[in-house]
Symmetry: C2
Subunit: 675 residues, 2 copies
């Protein structure tokens, strides 16, 4: 399946894994506004420059110049892994330039040149180790992050291959990958990196350049892991960096969430490209248990601040949810790989949940500040963020322009720039690896307004998707062009979308619903159950398909084992998790007074919902004992407030969680106590 | 008030603060068995040697020898603060030897000699800084812990003065304190230590040796704090070490709990000895808000693992409660100082809660393993602890013999060895600072079986206390000897003890209840309300007083703002918090199935309680979505299990929390869901 690209072009095809399903390429789907299109615009026009400016200002880019000039040894700004931020920004630029702009821009080549100049003759490239006044190469595999940084360099190069072709950056990456293979190959150093990422980069670059040695090296790294070879980090266990148990024996993800998820993504890539069914099954099993017991309603992963890590099963505190933005992105990366490998719709469902409620939550509307952690409750109202402040983790309920460890902004940037490549996939292989019935299938896994133009066999399927999803649940698809060979079209009905309907009008089947009134398909629509739904019949240019997903607000209850959310309920609307934000409450009423009346009707309200609530008085303090009281159950449960009590309920709006804290400091909760 | 002791003797009087109330001295109260007497025995016979052996084995003691021999510069075992563990052990030994053994033991003098040999000529004493191959003295005030270590040296010396007199250790401490005063005095370096403790040590040594310069130096450290002079620690805010806000402007404790509490204890000492009403009031205000909003039912403080710190108000997760043992001890230290300063019974109540449910929880029954963190819920059953394993923080539900940062074992040791000095206090000052009516008062603040023999004026009040408290709520006090001058006797009725009674028989008032049947005082007893209760009448030898506190099990409900405990209830019995431990459940039923029937009667059972419970089935997994489900409220709340459901409730025993995990690995919860 691998094809080596050497020419440029915005319509470049993706590099497919050995599996037969492939995501669409950078030019195969173009968004035009809407939820994700707008985020892409802001990312392109604000975030990329924002990240570049910060890294220039902090000297993280100049670190490369120092290596090139041989002037290392003085104070080196940034953590030991700051190079990776530069590479993630490069990856974002590759996707963005590939999508819209001149891929040969001066900005790109200038940046690549600075990086290339820092590469040692043998391919080693790192600004923190191995040069005058620095610790030796690979002298601290536990925390040095050298291979981690190289992995991100390789991923940037892969984005470049997929959007443009082989250029100077790709050659730099190739030399770096070769150096890694020599150093850590079967006859080399028996080591692994404390932060997985190199595995991903190697497999993807191997696919992009048709270089099986890279995949083999990734496989070695995967197999070496979990044998306790990494030197311990004080106060952290080997589970922190997944060096406690071999990958294929792991039951559930644990330790540092981003590390666990990057490793899992690399493991799926290796499993697919080496046809290792056992390894793939292991990761699928880990995914299932982790999603069912260690994943937030938002799709966020990581319950603990201490190690930015997974908690135990059912340990999902809303207030101390870590839900690192990067872990959300990494989760999407894993699910995407499993989706292509297995065709299981559950992976697409989780991707959607995570995109809307973690990834979209991080960037501020202007694209110049970010959440690092994404808790589901903010108990104390923070202070407004200083515009130029570096913040440890954007705690306190305000997005920060930059972080001490600033992994999230560039991760958001590369993800938004390539968002549409996660929206659809194609299964058009021939032979035994292809679809069962031999008919190529194009699947829309995520919905966004735009044009899809995807190569199927020798022809092209072109679709126009019109929707304001997720504000509306109506997705209208017009067939613009079909290939000669028949092609199946599949849509995703999300797991929450009970009551969805599908209506299809075909120009080749007169008498069915006409396009003119297809936006109101109630009478001719068929019910469709959650899962993949194949649009019946054959495609022809002019056909219109309308999928209607019920995005009315709904109550969502925590599993009784989620202790931290007992006695509360959340409200969702379509794929969007809503929240109650203090700025939406009447004067004099705080979040802690509100109890949702779950018997009352939920009503849509703007892009959120209106709920009926009762407000309660709370116990006075002043007794000097801990906040627990003995006696009758009612002693501590609060009494109705005169206004807003049981006799006089109030209506309060819930708003999309992903936009919280955009209206100034506030308190917030996703899970609201019930009556 | 300060008196300098130069002679030895187990009956040595305590060194009183400038305030007029003083705790009893090491020899004024002798326990004989019972809850705390047994713990003291185990501490004396097992824990002290255990700690000494570990520190010898790990080389923490040899660090002193290296400084003495001028052989520093090689690998130095232990963290930079390991000296403090040696000093805390010395403090424990001083208390213990003062109480029971030969205070001039060879063990003591040998240990002191090794430490003294490491002291520099100018009094500086630290094994990590300031010598060949080490960083310079005070070059890292944020994390170096030099003054912290010195503070513990000073506290050890104070214990020695209070139990024996001035000896070599005290002279070492005096020289160290003098060095600190020269270095950091009004004309010296304008610095503070990243970990408060020196303040405490200086004030106490100042009292013990009659040296006001030390108190003044402590005052300076207190006033300098909160002005952001400490160099930042990566990823932590200045609040971590209380350098964000000046001490007297702080509203509530925040940041690292042990740091915050040691600082507060030092601030009370300074406030009392400098008659600084404003500073004392500030700490009292901080205490009140912290206790009412940031303190666990156990008295534990610190909700976060990340920084071993306080959370926001109402952030009290049972599962991730940090509740460091040292923070519990530090909380007792603060409350004790405020109790003596104010006579407010609330402080004694919190001390009791914390002693029984945090301090007593840490050591294993054999005194050779300890909890570092004291969570109120254990969700996953851990593996048995390896007998010789060093554990980061004794997570996983098993006490560990030693820790990487091993502050808790020696802190437990010094606290248990001096426990009885927190049990009673005397107010016998004459003049305007004395008690209002001029009558000296002896107050029993904590109950334990033993003999109290306390100097009052020129005479002595001697009492024999007999009780199996807290298993029984009956405390029987026989007056053995009275001083010539009248003396008042006060007892504490804990805040939870509604329905307590007091009966007093006086040999000087014939006709009242006779000692022979005083253990059943129901008929002649008076009701007494929570708070201090003064025993009526005058004391005479032979008098008997019986206090009966209701220790029947009771339900305790979380404040509705404690989100993490919503929909649950705890059971307490007297001062003891109970818990449900998996080893007490019938086969086939896990903790997560149990719902307490709060309408059913609670019954005493051994030293715990029997509760009636219903068991519920829980949702199946396998859906591949996060553990939250939309739809009717019942969808996710579980169904009755055939056995133990609503039709067939079961009875389950709750056991004292402080003894959990003594019967092998288990899961555990203090807050149990209700019906």
């Amino acid at each position: 399946m691998t094809e080596t690209l050497t020419s440029s072009g915005v319509r470049a095809r993706p590099v497919a894994p050995a599996g037969h399903r492939r995501g669409v390429g950078i030019g195969e789907l173009l968004l035009d506004g809407g939820f994700w299109g707008s985020l892409q615009q802001t990312n392109a026009h604000a975030t990329l420059t924002h990240c570049l400016d910060w890294m220039e200002r902090l000297g993280w880019l100049a670190n490369f110049d120092h290596v090139a000039a041989g002037t290392t040894g003085g104070h080196r700004p940034g953590w030991q892994f700051s190079d990776s931020e530069v590479y993630k920004l490069l990856e974002a630029m590759a996707w963005e330039f590939g999508r819209t702009a001149d891929p040969d821009s001066t900005e790109w080549s200038h940046l690549v040149r600075r990086i290339a100049a820092a590469q040692d003759d043998d391919g080693y490239l790192n600004t923190c180790y191995g040069h005058a006044g620095q610790a030796p190469r690979y002298s601290d595999l536990s925390t040095g992050h050298e291979l981690y940084c190289t992995g991100h360099l390789l991923q940037a190069a892969v984005a470049r291959v997929r959007t443009h072709g082989v250029d100077e950056l790709v050659e730099v990456a190739r030399r770096a990958a070769d150096q890694v293979c020599r150093e850590f190959g079967p006859d080399g150093r028996d080591g692994i990196c404390g932060h997985p990422e190199i595995e991903l980069g190697l497999v993807e670059l191997g696919r992009a350049l048709g270089e099986p040695r890279y995949t083999e090296q990734a496989r070695l790294f995967i197999e070496r892991r979990g044998r306790g070879t990494l030197a311990p980090i004080a106060l952290l266990s080997p589970a922190y960096f997944q060096d406690d148990v071999p990958v294929r024996e792991v039951a559930v993800w644990r330790g540092h969430a981003v590390r666990a998820l990057y490793l899992a993504a690399g493991a799926v890539d290796v499993a697919v490209d080496t046809d290792d069914h056992d390894l793939r099954t292991a990761v699928e099993r880990q995914w299932t248990r982790t999603v069912e017991r260690r994943t937030y309603l938002t799709g966020g992963m990581g319950s603990r601040h201490q190690d930015e890590g997974f908690g135990d099963d059912w340990e999902l505190p809303p207030d101390r949810a870590y839900c690192e933005t990067c872990a959300g992105i990494a989760s999407v990366m894993v699910s995407w790989r499993l989706l292509l490998a297995s065709d299981d719709v559950r992976y697409a469902d989780l991707i959607e949940r995570t995109f809307y409620n973690v990834v979209a939550t991080s960037p501020r509307a202007d694209g110049r500040a970010f959440f690092y952690a994404n808790p589901l409750q903010q108990r104390e109202q923070g202070a407004p963020m200083q515009p130029d402040a570096v913040n440890p983790r954007a705690e306190g309920g305000a997005r920060a322009p930059w972080f001490d460890v600033s992994c999230c902004p560039t991760n958001v940037a590369r993800t938004l720039a390539s968002w549409h490549t996660y929206a659809a996939f194609v299964d058009d292989s021939e032979g035994p690896a292809g679809p069962a019935d031999g008919v190529p299938t194009v699947t829309l896994a995520q919905y966004a307004s735009g044009d899809l133009r995807v190569a199927v066999g020798t022809g092209e399927l072109a679709l126009r998707v019109e929707t304001t999803y997720p504000e509306s649940g109506i997705v209208r698809i017009r067939v613009l062009e079909v290939p000669e060979r028949p092609v199946a079209l599949r849509l995703r009905v999300p797991h929450w979308a009970e009551g969805a309907t599908l209506a299809a009008s075909s120009v080749s089947s007169p008498g069915t619903e006409q396009p003119s009134n297809i936006m109101h398909p109630a009478r001719t629509a068929h019910s469709v159950a959650p899962g993949w739904v194949e649009v019946p019949g054959e495609r022809a240019a002019g056909d219109v398909v309308v999928l209607e997903l019920p995005v009315t607000p709904r109550l969502t209850w925590p599993d009784p084992r989620v202790d931290a959310a007992r006695g509360t309920v959340a409200v969702e609307r379509g794929p969007i998790v809503l929240c109650l934000e203090s700025v939406d409450l009447p004067a004099g009423i705080a979040l802690e007074h509100v109890r949702i009346d779950t018997a009352a009707e939920l009503r849509p309200y703007a892009d959120g919902a209106l709920v009926t609530a009762r407000t309660v008085e709370l116990p006075d303090g002043g007794t000097g004992v801990p906040p627990f009281s003995s006696g009758a159950a009612g002693a501590c449960t609060g009494h109705d407030l005169p206004d807003g009590g049981a006799q006089n309920p109030i209506e309060v709006p819930l708003v999309p969680y992903h936009r919280w804290a955009e209206r100034g400091p506030s308190t917030m909760r996703v899970f609201v106590p019930t009556d």
